[in-house]
Subunit: 151 residues, 2 copies
């Protein structure tokens, strides 16, 4: 049951990533769920809104709005979370994170686990493919380096 | 000179915090500076915008917009950064952080330093006082616990 839900919500996160790609943005999507129900979904808005903090996970958490607690939530993301998003997961007390892929970007899975977060890495081909399509353009490659602040 | 600039920019961050308080929000402000010039300033928007990720530092970084690099910037904040904001500082490669106070909230100064960030703690009375005034109401105390996700 959990496995079915994980596929379902990661699928919604991937649909968000595809929406981002269609708008010329970084194709990274995210979902926040509670008790098998969708709370919110979002995707990276760096290009679309000129917002450097709007990674997929952050856009999703923003759209979820104020929550009294995150203790019963699961966060889904198509790409392994950067240090901003990992710090947010730990600060907010999100106990479980499902990651589409960690090949394009390794992220901070060890940091999450060391801080008590349960991490499931799906190694999902769809999540890899959407990033591959985005990164096939040199211009997009620059946007991606900007997004992870690598210079 | 650096010391004068630090006082000046922390003063602007504190003015942002006071603006937040006047609007009924959490009085935590922030400034991003580069080469002695203000890039952007912001303050916590949890109450005003219903946005859980808009801590003072994050609101400031959002308002600064897309930056090619943060390597020559300094971030000022009236209150010691939480794990979300600390993770963001590390991910963005901000090399120096000036903190107003770490008494109301200890934050993650060790984490920042371990990740190569230079941290200056000012122990500023004005920064403490604005939080004290906010937290004097029990209702605001609840908003504060929500902001740091403590339940």
């Amino acid at each position: 049951m959990t496995q079915n839900l994980d596929h379902k919500f990661l699928g919604i996160a991937l649909a968000e990533a595809e929406m981002g790609l269609a708008d010329g943005g970084l194709p990274i999507g995210s979902v926040l769920a509670r008790n098998g129900e969708l709370v919110a979904s979002g995707h990276n808005q760096r290009v679309q809104q000129g917002d450097p903090i709007a990674h997929g996970e952050m856009d999703c958490l923003r759209k979820a709005g104020r929550q009294r607690s995150y203790r019963d939530t699961v966060l889904y993301t198509t790409l392994s979370p950067c240090m901003m998003c990992s710090g947010t997961i730990v600060q907010f007390g999100i106990p479980r994170v499902v990651i589409g892929e960690a090949e394009t970007f390794a992220g901070n899975i060890d940091f999450l686990r060391q801080n008590g977060v349960e991490v499931l890495l799906m190694d999902d081909e769809g999540c890899k493919d959407v990033m591959r399509r985005f990164l096939s353009s040199p211009e997009n490659r620059q946007i991606w380096l900007e997004d992870i602040a690598e210079d």
